[in-house]
């Protein structure tokens, strides 16, 4: 895992925001953070190890994610997943802690050029599913607040055929999914999820971790009437492959 240069430890709290309240919550967050929201669309590709896990093996297999930002001026024709700048991200299972935050390690690597999708294949991972998220981001001190909503492309396969030859030859099944046309994206749920996250360089750095936890608690207090920031059940964020 030393090979992931952008790795860090993440402390976070979550809140659920129903669709009707979302504009109001965005306005209040804008007031709290003192800045306009940054809205962007992200494409997520979920990869799982191609070889199934030998039961009884000591190591776990984890899902890996590829995330890229879709530029606002992209269109159906210009959008090509293979040409995007992906970020490889592995989210560890949250650790058991008494602290009132979700604490987990994030292994992340930004890529610069080349076909990352091909690279994932050579790593021994295969595409599991693809989805899109609509994000609004605010920054408050050390906390990054993201309000996001997930949607799936209209013909997203859950059990994909092997991407590569058959996908190229069969235009009907595009395993990566396309975000266009935007109207055909299906929302998974009408509501939005708010994540308030603090990044800490190392999880052993007690001072920074405590400072981060304190900042999150202060934010929770400040947003008391707006939304309810809380810890999420640890196993709900489990990214191990079973």
């Amino acid at each position: 895992m030393q090979n992931f240069p952008q790795s860090h430890h993440e402390l976070s709290l979550y809140a659920y925001i129903p669709a009707s309240r979302q504009p109001q919550v965005l306005k209040m967050l804008s007031g709290v953070a003192g800045m306009r929201n940054e809205a962007f669309l992200q494409h997520h590709l979920l990869y799982k190890p191609a070889r199934p896990r030998v039961p009884g093996a000591p190591t776990d297999h984890f899902y890996m994610q590829l995330i890229c930002r879709i530029a606002p001026d992209e269109t159906k024709e210009t959008y090509n997943p293979r040409e995007q700048r992906w970020c490889i991200r592995l989210e560890d299972i949250p650790e058991v802690t008494r602290k009132p935050v979700v604490s987990r390690g994030i292994y992340s690597a930004n890529t610069y050029m080349g076909d990352v999708l091909e690279f994932m294949e050579t790593l021994g991972y295969t595409l599991q599913s693809s989805y899109f998220t609509d994000n609004n981001r605010f920054i408050h001190g050390n906390i990054v607040i993201t309000v996001s909503q997930t949607s799936t492309p209209p013909r997203s396969p859950l059990a994909p055929t092997a991407p590569g030859a058959s996908a190229a030859g069969d235009p009907k099944i595009d395993p990566f999914g396309s975000p266009f046309p935007k109207e055909r994206l299906r929302k998974v749920d009408d509501g939005w999820v708010l994540q308030a996250a603090v990044r800490v360089q190392s999880s052993t750095d007690v001072q920074s971790v405590n400072a981060g936890v304190q900042e999150l608690q202060n934010l929770k207090k400040a947003l008391e009437g707006v939304c309810e920031l809380d810890v999420v059940e640890r196993l709900a964020l489990d990214t191990r492959v079973r």
Binding site: I139, R199, V200, Q207, S208
Partner: protein
């Protein structure tokens, strides 16, 4: 044997034969009767039970005995004394509390009062009987319940009839009574009406005051100011006149004044503005104006004043902070001023009170203009820095580490310093080149130059405010191209930047020539104006040598500045303070020289060369 004090006034005759002579006349003291058993208790005297002496119990007993009314220490003391004296005389045979004998007139009055009451009661009962008998015709059940049994027995129910009697009415009386009634009613109505009118007037005034307050608050908000809740007060409105990225938060409460108008309080408007002074040689040669623009009136005036003042205070604080940190770049600080010294000019920044608007504007001199421009650019730069900090804040922060990164001070004085440094070098360069051209012209040679000041800022498209300012604050560049005699040309690029790698001014001079009279080609870099100047003079020297060479006769000796031909030897020199010097002579003879320093047009170089024999 005296009796011990008896806590219980209800004496029990069985236990205290001495105190009750009525029941036992022939009593013997117990201790003298040998047949009676010994009535001596060996137990200690019982202490009063806690319930008996607890405060609530005592209070209750006092209240029932004599009430607390009129109870003072003195009366109690008098009573104790009185009862003590009473006790000593009556202790043995009268333990019952003595009753105060009633005075005789009271007894009589009492009996009379009782008589009267009896009488009245009797009359009332008779009247009740009569009325109920009368009523029994119409409402037998109710009437019979209020009749006395004696009447019921003697007379049957409903036997008394009645009819209405119309009495003669006294018109005057009736009128008077009606008038009185009307007057009262009218008075009542008038007073009620007055009360209501008064209340409604007050309410109306209150409503007006509130309306005015809220209208003015709305005006403030429509003016673009942010009206929010006061952080420390419940139900308090405040206007945020400070800047979001500023270090000092500016929020002032808006209170309702006497007449409903909005009043802003707690604003320390110092009435000071940032002032820039230019000093040369210790004398102030230029000063910026401390004028404010239009402020509006009323509450908007206070808000604008507050905003202006907080802007100036912040600007000054940031300038001082920056000057302290970058003391190495020609910046100095004293307690309440910051100074930038570049090229003989001192720019002093401090705070000064706002000018009286009725004062006429001072004379406009170049230095006053410079001071005004510097003050204006400082203010623009503060807003620019605010934007930079907003964009920095809007980027996700790096993961937290134990050491906190120190924030860099704002770029306020550094761009000013860069500009001043650059202009001083620019002035020097243009003076140098002009002199060069003058020298060569007087020597009959041709040369020219073009100077493009601030070439990196000219001609670029402006896409946003930030990019527009960005061009000016990091590095300034001036280019010049000089064409020298003999077909040579120089390109001088002068860059000034305070940060690495340049850290000052850098001259990059590239020469273009035919390469014959000098091997060294390409570009040279210098970091001071003297070095660059010396190089330029040197280039001129070699250019003149080349020019002479091209004239045909003379041949350069080696790569130096001496030339030979059959006529003799010459040496071409360019000396800084002097000019172009041509020295010639013959062996054994005396050197002759001709100097062109640009002042007068004497013989040209060609003529001199011709004249050499």
């Amino acid at each position: 044997m005296s009796n011990p004090p008896d806590p219980n006034p209800d004496t029990n005759p069985d236990t205290n034969p001495d105190t009750n002579p009525d029941t036992n006349p022939d009593t013997n003291p117990p201790d003298t009767n040998p047949s009676d058993p010994l009535l001596l208790s060996l137990r200690h005297w019982p202490s009063p039970a806690p319930e008996e002496t607890s405060l609530p119990t005592l209070v209750h007993r006092i209240h029932t005995q004599r009430y607390f009314n009129g109870l003072t220490e003195d009366t109690l003391q008098a009573e104790i004394n009185a009862s003590a004296s009473n006790d000593t005389s009556d202790a043995l045979h009268d333990a019952r509390p003595t009753t105060i004998p009633e005075p005789p007139h009271m007894v009589v009055a009492k009996s009379r009062m009782v008589d009267y009451i009896f009488h009245a009661h009797n009359e009332a009962m008779i009247a009740l009987d009569f009325i109920s008998l009368v009523c029994s015709l119409q409402a037998p059940e109710i009437a019979t319940s209020s009749m006395s049994p004696m009447l019921k027995a003697s007379v049957p129910v409903g036997c008394l009839g009645h009819s209405r009697l119309v009495r003669k009415v006294d018109k005057a009386e009736v009128e008077k009574e009606e008038k009185i009634a009307r007057e009262w009613k009218q008075q009542g109505l008038v007073s009620a009406a007055d009360l209501l009118l008064g209340a409604s007037k007050r309410l109306g005034e209150e409503v007006n005051r509130e309306r005015r307050y809220w209208r003015e608050v709305l005006e403030i908000r429509e003016g673009g100011w942010l009206v929010t809740r006061m952080p420390r007060e419940k139900n308090g409105l405040g206007v945020r006149y400070g800047f979001a990225e500023a270090t000092l938060s500016g929020i002032a409460p808006l209170r309702r004044g006497e007449d409903g108008g909005v009043r802003m309080e707690q604003v320390e408007s110092g009435g000071r503005m940032v002032r820039v002074r230019i000093m040369r040689g210790g004398e102030v040669t230029g000063e910026s104006w401390q004028r404010v623009g239009r402020e509006g009136e009323g509450i908007m005036k206070s808000v604008r004043k507050a905003r202006n003042s907080i802007y100036e205070e912040e600007l000054f604080a940031e300038v001082m902070k920056e000057a302290r940190m970058y003391a190495g770049m020609g910046m100095k600080t004293r307690e309440d001023e910051a100074t930038v010294e570049v090229g003989g000019v001192s720019v002093v920044v401090d705070m000064a009170p706002i000018d009286d608007p009725n004062h006429p504007f001072p004379l406009m001199t170049p230095d006053t203009q410079l001071a005004n421009y510097i003050a204006l650019s400082l203010r623009i730069l503060l807003s620019y820095n605010h934007r930079l900090s907003l964009s920095r804040r809007s980027r996700p922060p790096p993961p937290m580490t134990p050491h906190k990164p120190t924030p860099e001070p704002m770029r306020l004085l550094r761009p000013i310093t860069t500009y001043l440094l650059h202009t001083s070098h620019q002035t020097h360069l243009s003076t140098l080149l002009r002199r060069l051209c003058l020298i060569t012209t007087t020597a009959g040679l041709s040369s020219s130059f073009t100077l493009t000041p601030f070439s990196n800022t000219v001609g670029r498209p402006i896409t946003s405010v930030e990019t527009a300012i960005d061009l000016f604050i990091h590095m300034l560049e001036t280019t010049a191209s000089v064409s020298l005699p003999g077909g040579w040309s120089l390109t001088i690029t002068m860059r000034t930047a305070l940060q690495r790698p340049i850290q000052g001014t850098q001259y990059v001079i590239t020469t273009h020539h035919d390469g014959v009279s000098i091997r060294q080609m390409g570009e040279q870099r210098f970091s001071s104006e003297e070095e660059a100047g010396n190089y330029v003079w040197w280039c001129l020297e070699r250019a003149v040598v080349n020019h002479i060479r091209l004239m045909g006769e003379w041949v350069q000796e080696g790569l130096g500045n001496e030339m030979v031909c059959k006529k003799g030897r010459i040496r071409v020199e360019v000396q800084e303070g002097v000019g172009l010097v041509l020295v010639w002579g013959k062996q054994g003879g005396r050197d002759r020289k001709e100097v062109w320093d640009g002042t007068e047009r004497g013989r040209s170089l060609a003529e001199v060369l011709e004249g050499i024999v």
